[in-house]
């Protein structure tokens, strides 16, 4: 057998393998760099809102091919394609509610324009869109909390009365006025950002956030007793036995909120209205 070291075929094969290892190593390193960068680029800043119908962020980054067709078909120039250097994954569409909110077009042209389904075509009613969720983040500055009639956010809301309602509360400070507090309901808020854009503060007191950030989530094993009761028609834990209090005759306790109740008959005393009548033996019963 020839000495392996002097075998030219062996040497060239060894060089071939070394070259290949070098190339593969270099490319793998490049891939690692891009991969790590993609991890970092996957975090969306809070102010960047995806267009209506966008798949959940992790899926969206795989589905969107960065073509900008949604951007082109948005008649209000709401959407932008992220440029390299911005915080949003380069080439993906987003908008900043405080600058230009989504006008919630009835025909949703951005979704229709998307060729890949990164914007979900099953979204046909714009009221069903959940781009984000408005949160009244700063109760210290929102002037409604100071007792002023602002309600601008409430009035611009395209789903006014459902997504934002005004709740009346007592003004503790003045002691005699009402507060009209805007309250957002996740069941109807589309996250269009009209409220954030319109808020009269220097910095919006109400802001649209990613739903995942804005919403809490109840422990999965939690059950709200009153809801379960409503659903099934009766309490699930024990039969409803009305609590009995040991009260003087003619009194009872109502759990619905009325509290202690004096029955009509309880007011009937053996005494008449006038003391004289009583003394004269003419009882009230007479």
């Amino acid at each position: 057998m020839a000495d392996k070291r002097n075998n030219p075929g062996m040497a060239s094969r060894r060089r071939f393998l070394a070259d290949m290892a070098r190339t593969a190593g270099g490319v793998a390193l490049l891939g690692l760099g891009v991969g790590l960068y993609s991890r970092q680029a996957a975090s969306l800043p809070v102010s960047a809102i995806r267009p209506p119908g966008a798949l959940p962020e992790a899926d969206f980054l795989g589905a969107c091919i960065r073509c900008g067709l949604c951007v082109r078909d948005c008649p209000y120039d709401t959407l932008k394609l992220s440029e390299l250097g911005e915080d949003v994954a380069t080439g993906t569409p987003y908008f900043v509610a405080r600058d230009v909110p989504c006008e919630m077009c009835d025909d949703i042209p951005c979704v229709k324009a998307c060729p890949t389904g990164a914007l979900d075509h099953t979204l046909t009613d714009i009221d069903e869109a959940r781009m984000g969720l408005a949160v009244l983040v700063d109760q210290e500055t929102c002037i409604a909390f100071q007792g002023l009639r602002c309600e601008v956010c409430y009035n611009v809301c395209p789903v006014r009365g459902k997504a934002i309602t005004l709740e009346m509360r007592h003004n503790e400070r003045s002691g005699k006025h009402a507060l009209f507090i805007p309250e957002v309901h996740s069941s109807a808020c589309t996250g269009c950002g009209k409220c954030e854009q319109a808020c009269v503060m220097e910095q919006a007191a109400i802001k649209v956030m990613p739903v995942s950030l804005a919403k809490g989530e109840l422990g999965h094993h939690y059950r709200l007793g009153w809801e379960e009761k409503r659903k099934s028609g009766e309490s699930l834990v024990a039969p409803d036995v009305p609590h009995e209090y040991n009260l003087p005759e003619g009194q009872r306790y109502e759990h619905g909120g009325a509290g202690l109740i004096f029955e009509e008959s309880a007011n009937k005393t053996p005494f008449g209205k006038s003391a004289l009548d009583t003394l004269n033996g003419r009882s009230a019963a007479q």
């Binding site: 891009v34 589905a63 073509c67 324009a113 060729p115 890949t116 389904g117 075509h121």
Partner: protein, 303 residues
């Protein structure tokens, strides 16, 4: 060597005139620039013939076009792409299967103008050598980008892809994308000859795969007239594709350049004073049989 560099194509210019010796180059630049112009007409002048960018576009509101390479990455993230994108990709695939996979590089891709410029400057400045990159590195990069899509679940390569960076940047806004384009330019200028398009770019690598069946090819029909001036080698972005066709007669290899990485750029046709090369079909590849040709077969090839 420097003298040689300066005189590339001089013979062709002498025999065909400057225009004649740059015909395909001019047509090709016109193609690259018009495609870019079509995309820019919308944002610049409000004339919307084509919307979108090279990744996906919609022409005249009816014709969808999708880059099959980027759609493949999307598929690998386990997203089932919509019908429009899929149809668009099939149309594009069909086109490049017919016209030549890397026709994308020579006739469409905007980065080609950047790397051609870098190459021109490199020759001008007489910059030589640099790192020795294997040509097949691009297939490793291609594989890496596909693995990346699977592993990250996102179209990760699009975060750095110079091709879409430049094209999207020109149409939608550059941001810092110019830095990536500049990096490619510097790479080609200083690090290695034709480093990006000829060795690294996974987009070109992907499209080259279609080139294995492409009917439209360049053929060295008149290879007998070759006087070994080597100008075609000097001007070709993928010079390794030429020898089998040009010099393979003795080995019974046909005159058609079958190598998938020929970009159908036509520069070899331009630069050859002897008009050895023409555009032809891959099926017009009759060699002189195995071994030497009979004189009659030779006549057939030359006619």
């Amino acid at each position: 060597m420097t003298v040689r560099t300066v005189s590339i194509g001089a013979d062709a210019i002498a025999s065909k005139g400057w225009i004649g010796a740059h015909k395909w180059l001019l047509v090709r630049r016109t193609s690259q620039l018009s495609i870019l112009a079509l995309f820019l007409l919308g944002p610049w002048l409000g004339i919307w013939i084509v919307k979108g960018n090279l990744n996906a576009s919609l022409a005249l509101d009816v014709l969808p076009l999708t880059d099959p390479y980027v759609l493949l990455q999307t598929l690998l993230t386990w997203h089932v792409p919509g019908l429009t994108a899929s149809i668009g990709a099939l149309i594009v695939l069909a086109f490049y299967l017919l016209a030549g996979g890397r026709v994308y590089c020579a006739w469409v891709c905007p980065v080609n103008m950047v790397t051609d410029a870098a190459h021109w400057l490199r020759e001008r400045l007489g910059i030589k050598g640099g790192s020795r990159l294997p040509r097949n590195t691009r297939y490793w990069v291609l594989a890496m980008t596909l693995v990346l899509a699977v592993v990250t679940g996102s179209v990760a390569w699009e975060l750095v892809n110079p091709v879409s960076m430049l094209h999207r940047g020109l149409i939608f806004g550059m941001g810092f994308a110019w830095s990536i384009v500049l990096a490619v330019f510097m790479l080609d200028l200083f690090v290695s000859r034709r480093a990006w398009c000829g060795h690294l770019c996974p987009v070109g690598a992907f499209y080259s795969l279609l080139g294995h069946v492409t009917p439209l090819r360049v053929s060295a029909v008149s290879r007998d007239a070759c006087n070994d001036c080597m100008d075609c080698y000097a001007v070709c972005p993928e010079p390794q594709v030429i020898p089998p066709a040009l010099k393979g007669e003795d080995k019974g290899i046909g005159p058609v350049i079958l190598a998938a990485n020929c970009t159908n750029c036509g520069r070899c046709i331009d630069v050859c004073a002897k008009d050895v090369f023409v555009f032809a079909s891959r099926f017009q590849n009759k060699s002189g049989g195995l071994g030497r040709k009979s004189p009659s077969q030779k006549m057939e090839v030359m006619s």
